[in-house]
């Protein structure tokens, strides 16, 4: 494994040397712009399945996934989280139930202590925790859905967070709060990598 590989949070490249290469260094917040919906989906799918597509090579959190067995892939997957634009919520659960679902499932012992953390995160982002946490997804704005999905992920403290922006028009307060997502994530997850996925029309970041 090369030095470049060991320092990559995401290293994704076609083996034939064609276009579509993504290289994101470990640590900090980065933006990555996808040239098309197809290439964005392909990258997300490869990262979440911890499986390079045909004719591609994938490095995640400094590990070339090619040599990993099922247990190694599962262990690596546990360190990665994905925030879809719509927050990835379950419509039958209210915001609070959505937030604590993965924690309750994977580490129930932590359930008792997360309420303060959730409330603090929401308050720091300018939301009213009491009102928001009681809402069902059908009553939330696109930004609120994205925010609840984000709060849920911060509880999991992943080493790599792949995030999509909320869809639709955001007002200035929402835009300002959403801009703080990477900062709050990096405060909570020391040494973590926040990757903001954008379309090619977005402002910065390498295209693939």
């Amino acid at each position: 494994m090369s030095e470049a590989d060991s320092s990559a949070a995401i290293g994704y490249e076609p083996l034939n040397g064609g276009g579509g290469r993504v290289w994101v260094p470990l640590g900090g917040a980065r933006r990555v712009a996808a040239l098309s919906e197809h290439s964005r989906k392909r990258l997300v799918s490869a990262v979440l399945d911890v499986m390079p597509g045909p004719g591609t090579r994938l490095v995640l959190l400094g590990v070339d996934v090619e040599g990993l067995g099922p247990a190694g892939r599962a262990a690596l997957r546990d360190r990665i989280a994905f925030l879809p634009a719509d927050g990835g919520l379950l419509s039958s659960l209210n915001a609070w139930e959505n937030v604590v679902l993965p924690v309750g499932f994977h580490s129930p012992a932590r359930l008792a202590s997360v309420e303060a953390e959730v409330t603090a995160t929401l308050a720091s982002l300018g939301a009213d925790p009491e009102a928001l946490l009681a809402k069902l997804p059908e009553r939330m704005t696109p930004y609120e859905k994205n925010l609840i999905g984000y709060v849920r992920i911060t509880l999991e403290k992943p080493d790599l967070l792949l995030a999509e922006e909320a869809q639709g028009e955001l007002d200035s307060a929402e835009r300002a709060a959403a801009a703080r997502f990477p900062e709050i994530y990096l405060e909570r997850c020391k040494g973590g990598t926040y990757v903001q996925l954008e379309n090619a029309s977005g402002p910065q970041g390498p295209e693939f």
Partner: protein, 258 residues
């Protein structure tokens, strides 16, 4: 034919998975989902299901007593054999299919189509753990409870009706009933109704998680598949169970020779 085999194999695999993952019910979100399922199937529907079941059971008794011109002994035997062993569990199962089976298949098919099942995978939660295990267990337990209610009310109603329509007192009928009834009858119907409930839950969850398409049109198709196949499976299980336990099926037309 291959499709039917695949569906059968899929349901069997799902059953094996559910059995192997029962400990997951201890995790808070799954336990909550189990409670909701029991509340939906076993509690919130109780009044309607039990009344309908009891009405059907009592109606059958009234009809059979009238047609056979039954005396007290025959009326009690009919109550025991028909209502307690067969009609009670079957009525409860059919009503559970109508109410909870359709709801489960539709909900899971919508979750599959809208991407919520994928969202669960993104959270590293196996959808079968969170969606299937609590529903199958919840429907099984609820069906057993509903069967018990239906039996109690249908047998009680049947006895009351028998006392009114034949020359026998309610005390005479009930003492004869309790003399004839064995604990095995209750164990038999409880196990059978649990099995019916589990089968309904499995088949409906399977079709909900495997809708025949990705458009909204696939939802009613999945519901139809879930309801028809779980009804058939319940009837088949009833025959197999009667044959295994009492050595007879199809009302004695097929008899076991051991």
């Amino acid at each position: 034919m291959i499709g039917v085999y695949r569906e059968f194999e899929g349901c069997m695999r799902l059953a094996g998975y559910v059995l192997s993952r029962l400990p997951v019910l201890a995790r808070p979100p799954v336990a909550e989902s189990l409670t909701r399922q029991i509340y939906f199937t076993g509690a919130s529907a109780t009044a309607g299901i039990v009344l309908r079941g009891a009405f059907i059971g009592t109606f059958i008794i009234a009809y059979v007593i009238d047609v056979l011109e039954a005396d007290a002994a025959l009326a009690v035997k009919i109550l025991l054999w028909v209502v307690l062993r067969e009609v009670g569990p079957l009525i409860a199962a059919v009503l559970v299919i109508q109410r909870s089976g359709t709801a489960i298949t539709t909900e899971l098919a919508l979750m599959q189509i809208s991407g919520e099942v994928t969202n669960l995978r993104h959270m590293r939660i196996d959808p079968r753990d969170y969606l299937v295990v609590p529903r199958v267990v919840g429907v099984a337990l609820s069906t057993a409870a509903l069967t018990f209610y239906v039996q109690v009310i249908a047998v009680g109603g049947g006895m009351l009706l028998s006392a009114l329509s034949i020359d026998a007192s309610l005390g005479e009928l009930s003492s004869e009933f309790f003399a004839l009834a064995r604990p095995l009858d209750l164990v038999y119907s409880t196990i059978k109704s649990c099995l019916f409930g589990a089968a309904i839950g499995l088949v409906c969850c399977y079709h909900g998680l495997h809708p025949p398409g990705v458009s909204i049109n696939a939802v009613p198709k999945a519901a139809i598949n879930g309801v028809t196949q779980s009804t058939l499976l319940v009837l088949l299980l009833n025959v197999v169970f009667a044959y295994l336990v009492f050595g007879q099926a199809f009302f004695g037309l097929v008899t076991a020779k051991l």
